[in-house]
Structures are given as C-alpha cells and as structure tokens.
C-alpha cells in the first residue's frame, strides 16, 4: 500500500500555546500527482505545510518521506532528500541578481559548496543549469537584473525557479499565486503544470483560489479548523455536501 506514497503524515498536531492549529491530521500523498490542500483562512493549511517542510517541529505525530521518517529532519536536509518548497510571502534573495538567485540553488546539491579557493565562474555547470531553469520559468533575458527590482509576478516566477534548480522530486507550493493579479495567474499555472508534469514530479499545493485548484489538481484535501473534513478527487469535493456547506458555498459566493 505504501508503494506509491511519497509523503505520509500520521496524526500530526501542532499547538501554539492553547491554540491548536493542526489537530490530528493524517495525509497521504500519491507519487506523481498534484495534491491540493484547501480550506478557509485559519484552517491550518500553512501550519500543516510548515510541518511537512520541516520549518516547525510538530507537537505530536510523524512524517514519512518514501517510508523513511523525517519528522525531526531540519529543512536543509529535507532539501537534500528532494523536497523543495516555495513560500506564501515571496522569499527570494533581493540583493542578488536573478541568475545568482537560481545559481545558488543549483549549486546547493552539487557538492562544491565548501570550495572556498576557487572562483564560482569555474563551475559553469551551475550557471548553465540556472540559465536553463530561468528559461523554463519565463525569466530568460533578465539574468543580470537585481531580484528586488522585478515585478511581483516575476518574483513569484523566480521563487519557482529557485525551487526547481534544486531538482526536487516533491514540490511544496504555498499559495504560489498569492498577491498576483488575475491576468498573471494563468501564466504561472501553466508554468507550474509544465514543471510538475515534465519530469513527472509530485506536488503539494496550498491554495485558496478554487478555480485553480479544481483545474489542476488530481486529489484534494479540505481542511477546516485544524481538521481534515474531506478528501477526494476534484469531482468528489465539488459534490461533497459537507464541503459545500462549510466552505465552498461561502467561498464561491465571495469570489463571484
């Protein structure tokens, strides 16, 4: 049964003092799928995400990656296992060039990180890889621009590029379209679709844009008040009475 499961969380719980943000959540992510986690504000999506990516330790419960327990593994070691993550609030290196942002990520898993007497220019492979990734996320031609002077949408693309340059098997997206204008969203979705499918990667996506989630994900977990209230394919979720009542109905009403 665990054969096709890349990431598994068992009875995860996270309490901030008296507030229980994630309460006894178990989740299984199938390999090579797009798995979305949705829920209204304050449902505990981002907290769950932080537990999965290792930014916070859980109060209780266990996380497995390919059947190996990674509950207490720090984020930089998870990156070496092949887990990459993006952030809800744009998280890039503002004072470095676009190329250097991605090159730094490409270098991370290469094994040359402690070479401190050679010039970076001698490691052309990382530069080439960074250039390839930049082309993939649609930032070709902007290599020498400082990351801080990019437009917001471009920063999101750059963040995606940083994540991709590490060649992760499992991608964790924390609201990749947050703060983007509606015109920019489809382009980013196309890029996400492309990078996830091209190498048959797995992706976990936290999102509140319903239309986007319904379109691109294979499996959806719905959270509310720190609990999982429903799981299933987009079809099942759309037809789920409980979800509609607790979340979808309201949300659609707000959006449209």
């Amino acid at each position: 049964m665990t054969k096709n499961i890349i990431l598994r969380a068992e009875n995860l719980r996270k309490a901030f003092g008296g507030l229980i943000a994630v309460d006894d959540v178990s989740i299984e992510v199938q390999q090579k799928t797009m798995h979305a986690i949705i829920g209204p504000n304050g449902a505990g999506k981002t907290t769950l995400f932080n537990l999965l990516s290792g930014t916070m330790p859980p109060t209780k419960g266990k996380v497995y990656y390919k059947d190996n327990e990674i509950t207490s593994l720090p984020p930089h070691q998870r990156a070496h296992l092949g887990i990459g993550r993006s952030f809800q609030i744009t998280n890039i290196f503002p004072n470095l060039t676009v190329l250097e942002n991605v090159r730094l990520a490409a270098q991370a898993l290469g094994g040359d990180n402690f070479r401190f007497l050679s010039h970076v220019g001698t490691f052309g492979d990382y530069i080439d890889k960074a250039m390839a990734v930049l082309a993939q996320v649609g930032l070709a031609g902007q290599e020498n621009v400082y990351a801080r002077s990019l437009a917001h949408g471009e920063k999101r693309k750059l963040e995606l590029g940083i994540m991709l340059a590490c060649d992760p098997e499992l991608l964790l997206f924390d609201e990749p379209t947050a703060g983007m204008s509606s015109e920019q969203v489809p382009e980013l979705i196309e890029i996400i679709k492309k990078v996830v499918n091209r190498k048959e990667r797995t992706a976990i996506l936290v999102e509140h844009r319903m239309d986007m989630v319904m379109n691109i994900s294979d499996f959806i977990t719905v959270m509310s008040q720190g609990n999982v209230i429903a799981e299933g394919t987009p079809q099942e979720i759309a037809n789920n009475q409980l979800v509609q009542k607790a979340y979808l109905g309201d949300f659609y009403g707000e959006l449209l």
């Binding site: 990516s53 930014t55 720090p74 984020p75 930089h76 070691q77 990156a79 070496h80 990459g84 993550r85 952030f87 998280n91 890039i92 290196f93 503002p94 004072n95 470095l96 060039t97 190329l99 250097e100 090159r103 730094l104 990520a105 270098q107 991370a108 898993l109 040359d112 990180n113 402690f114 070479r115 401190f116 007497l117 050679s118 010039h119 970076v120 220019g121 001698t122 490691f123 052309g124 530069i127 080439d128 250039m131 290599e143 020498n144 940083i162 994540m163 340059a165 590490c166």
Partner: protein
C-alpha cells in the same frame, strides 16, 4: 547564453582589470619608501621615511582587521562586537610564546636541515604564528557556537560580553607572572630578522605582503561557491535553508576565516609593537573595526582598506591639531560621512557609478525609441 555577469574563467588579465585600483594602491605602497627616501635624502631605514613606514604598517595591519570584520558584518550579515577577542587572542598568543616559550626552547634545542643550516628560528616563528591563528580560531568557534541560538542584537551583546571576558583575563593580576596584567608584556623578544626598529623596511614589506595576500584571499573567498552561500545567508537565511544549506555551518566558516585574519593581524600588531597590552583586547579595537568598515562601505572589502587609511590619517593629523581631544573631531567627521555617504565611501561611489550607468542606458533606450 553567452554574456554572463559571472565570469567563467579567471585569467590574469581579468584579475588585473578587476582589481585595478587595488593593484595600483599596492604598487604605490611598494614605491613609497624609496620615493620618500630619495626626496628627503634620508635613506629608507632612517628619519622621516622610517617614521612614515611605521604609520603605514599600522594602517596595513588595521586594514586587514577591517576586512576580516567586513567579512562578518558586510558579507555574512553578522553583527559582532567581539572582534577584539580575535585580534587580542592572536596578539597575546604571539607575545606570550615569544616571551615565555621561544627563548627557553631555542637554548635547549637546535634544529638543522640536512645541509647544515640552522632553521630553529624559522620554525619557532612559524609555530608561534600557527598557534596565534589557532587561538583566534578557537575564539571564533566559541562565538559561532553561540550564534546557533542567538540572533541580532542579542548575539552582539553576547559577543561583547565574551570579548570583555577576555579583556578582563588579560588584565587580571592572577596571571601577572605571564601576562604582566595591567602593564602588559613589553620588549617581547621577536626574532631578530623581523625586529621592526632595526629593520623597518623589511617589516614594512612583510606587512604589505600580508595585506596583499589577505585581500586576495578574502576576495577570492567571497567569490567562491562557499562565499556565495554566505552572501545568501545574509540576504535570506530561511531561503538558504530551504534550498539545502545549513546556515549555521556557513556562519561558522565565516567566523573561522574572519578569526584567522583578525588573529594574524593581532600577531603582526604585537610583533610591530614588540608588546601585548590589554588595550589590544579592548572594545576600542572592535569599535575601530566597525568605524573603518562603515566609513569605507560594508560588503565592499576595499572599503575596509579605505576606512583604515582614513582612520590612521585622521588619528595622526588630528592629534597634532587638536591634541588628545581629537576623537571628538573625528566623531564629527564620522557623523558627516554617515549622513553624506550612507553606504560608506566605496559603497556610495559604486552605487552612484551604477546609477549613472543605468541612466545612460535609459537615455539610449529612449533615443532608440524616438528614432523609430
């Protein structure tokens, strides 16, 4: 894909072009004693020429201190108020070993190379310097170990406390037999061939080579894969962690490299003064390093050299003009400099140059559009 800001290969021509200003500065410094000696007619080991070489030696040594501090604050973004501890550890180790260990060792043992030459002196010198570096690296590791849990101002306070602890140790009367407590160690028997009063030009060129090599090493370090991760840690620690680097490891590496150069500078300084006093571990050293880096520009490396030169020049001339109250005047200069050059002299200059370049590019783009 052909035009990258990052150069693929570092050729000699490349180096000459990039480090033009620095290399010219080094050449000027090489020529300085000869030129001044000829002009004043004193010869390079006498009179005013000898005096000015002494001033420049202190400048070279302090420039290395500033660069090692810049590595911490400018490249890794670590605010540390304990830089005097690295410097002092190097200075005291050197002075202590030369005073208490080297004389007895060299009377007991002599080491010869197979040909028959006596290399005891060289070996003792190398060992002392090595120990000085080791001592400051140990202090550096202690500092970085505390940086795992503490951040920002809290960390700065702790480094200040640790450096003060070393300062108190240096002053403590309990160790008066070894360290001379308040008096310090004076008349340290440094090897005769490096004696700064006897062979001033020799010491001058050793200090100059020290500055030159330190600069090239630190510059290369900041351009290496490891150095780029360190800059990334400054920019965004969380991001660095998420792409698979452990920031603690890289902070430790920065501390070690910074401590090596600060410790070496301390060793040079104690050999230059032929003494070690508790003032070499006091916060004045740290504050001077901070002032030099801020004056010259953080994260520019050259800025440290510029700042050290300015501080050295100001302290010399202002003392002549204003007497012991010169720091008051210097403080004024410092405030004005921070107001007008917020990124330091080198930093502001680079920023302006970049802005002017970008301005021309925009103008050209505008004209190109008009033509169509």
């Amino acid at each position: 894909m052909s035009e990258h800001k990052i150069q693929r290969r570092m050729t000699i021509r490349n180096l000459l072009q990039r480090e033009k200003a620095f290399l010219i500065f080094i050449l000027l410094m090489v020529a300085f004693p000869f030129v001044l000696g000829t002009i004043t007619g004193t010869g390079i080991n006498h009179g005013v020429t000898k005096f000015w070489q002494g001033q420049l030696i202190v400048f070279f040594v302090m420039a290395v201190v500033a660069m090692s501090y810049d590595l911490l604050i400018g490249y890794c973004g670590i605010l540390s108020f304990g830089h005097a501890a690295f410097f002092g550890a190097g200075a005291y180790t050197t002075a202590l070993l030369f005073t208490h260990w080297a004389p007895s060792f060299s009377t007991k043992y002599r080491i010869f190379i197979p040909g028959g030459g006596d290399i005891t002196g060289i070996l003792i010198f190398a060992f002392v310097i090595l120990m000085a570096v080791l001592a400051s690296v140990l202090v550096g590791l202690l500092f970085s170990a505390t940086s795992v849990r503490l951040k920002g101002a809290y960390f700065a306070m702790l480094t200040l406390a640790l450096a003060e602890a070393l300062h108190i140790l240096a002053k403590a009367s309990d160790f008066i037999k070894w360290t001379g407590a308040d008096e310090g160690l004076h008349g340290v028997p440094v090897p005769a061939w490096i004696n700064p009063t006897q062979f001033r030009p020799r010491f001058y060129f050793i200090a100059l080579v020290f500055l030159f090599v330190s600069y090239l090493f630190i510059r290369r370090f900041t351009n290496s894969p490891a150095g780029k991760v360190i800059i990334g840690t400054r920019e965004n620690e969380e991001r660095v962690r998420m792409i698979g680097y452990n920031p603690v490891t890289y902070r430790t590496l920065t501390f070690v490299v910074s401590a090596i150069f600060a410790g070496l500078a301390g060793a040079m300084f104690s050999m230059w003064n032929m003494s070690a006093t508790h003032s070499m571990t006091s916060t004045v050293i740290t504050v001077n390093a901070l002032i030099m880096v801020i004056l010259g520009g953080m994260g520019t490396l050259v800025g440290g050299i510029v700042g050290a030169g300015l501080l050295q020049a100001f302290s010399h001339f202002f003392y002549d003009w204003f007497g012991p109250r010169w720091p008051l005047m210097f403080g004024l200069i410092f405030i004005i400099s921070v107001l007008f050059f917020p990124y330091g002299i080198v930093g502001t200059w680079r920023l302006k140059r970049l802005q002017i370049k970008e301005g021309w590019a925009r103008l050209i783009a505008l004209l190109a559009v008009k033509k169509e």
